[in-house]
Symmetry: C2
Subunit: 202 residues, 2 copies
């Protein structure tokens, strides 16, 4: 492990706790992904940028896909946090707008689309995607939607995981098969359609 | 064109019209895709099975992806036709059930998922996907939804293309990122959620 004596790791106060080193690596990876995408993300480069040995990186993340997904999740976590103003309509619109911005205005959309794309023929990457990204995003959305159910704003019998597919899944659909654009009108229509229903006779 | 004398092409009544030959090729491709997927679909094999020269095949379809998408579209077109009973709820449920069955019970789901996957890094395939498959599926769904708008069953101000993302797009989301399964309960929930709305206070 030739790099453990480098400043980034020691900073004059001995070996840093693994959690702190790990968080540093994830921050580095997240910055690279959002700024430029995943094409030039390599273990070599992450080792150089973070001052952590490749051996350690491989111990924590068995593949580039796993490293990218973990870094990406942590990079977008604050931006994609669910507001809780008590108004589920306003909170869904705010969160979906933030999500749409990450997808269309940073390299995030391309990074995720390529990882989802590769995961169709790479079972290990598919597992990493679900474990390190999508299952946790589903859990967080589900929590906010269940709070709205307890507040009587969403009907109790609704399966909130289906709502995830009809809001965020609908955005992924336009990202992966770009027949139609992801616009602010689209985000608003998703929320209003689903909360109010589209039926002409209710 | 060494194969033009083969029985499949001539059948004793001279050169067949190009439309008929083309339809034969698409039928052959569709059968292979739904039965076994796209892994062993090659121009060589399609030429052999259909009795059409590779030169002709390449003239009509510039890539394996284009050939697969055109064959797939035609193979599923009858199954995915939109019923028009006059009841949009029943018709959407019937069509989405048929779609879910093709996706989960034939090789169709895997074929589409892999083509969508590859198209994230292959711009020509992405264009072929939209031109030969998704834009036309969107158009057909849009037509049925607009008929429902004219009948007063869907509100006139609803953008029917957003509905496409919230029904079929939601199914694609579960196919491409399989955190949750595509079940009959899921299909029913998609339609009821969207037609009736999920809000607790309407």
């Amino acid at each position: 492990m030739p790099m453990t004596n480098q400043p980034a790791v020691r900073r004059g106060r001995g070996r840093r706790p693994a959690d702190e080193v790990r968080a540093d690596v994830l921050r580095t990876v997240g910055e690279v992904l959002l700024a430029e995408g995943s094409a030039d993300l390599t273990f070599e480069r992450v080792a150089r940028l973070s001052g952590v040995s490749k051996t350690t990186l491989y111990k924590w993340w068995p593949s580039k896909g796993a490293l990218a997904l973990d870094g990406y999740f942590h990079a977008v976590e604050p931006t994609l946090a669910f507001p809780e103003t008590g108004d589920i309509r306003a909170d869904l619109i705010a969160q979906l707008r933030a999500f749409a911005r990450v997808m269309t205005e940073t390299s995030g959309g391309k990074v995720l689309a390529e990882l989802i794309g590769q995961s169709q023929t790479d079972p290990d990457l598919a597992t990493a995607y679900r474990t390190l990204y999508s299952a946790e995003r589903r859990r967080l959305a589900g929590e906010r939607l269940q709070a709205a159910q307890r507040a009587g704003q969403i009907r109790a019998e609704v399966d909130v995981q289906v709502v995830v597919d009809q809001l965020w899944g609908a955005v992924y659909h336009r990202l992966l098969i770009p027949d139609e654009p992801v616009t602010d009108e689209f985000v608003l229509a998703l929320v209003h359609n689903l909360l109010d229903g589209i039926s002409g006779r209710s």
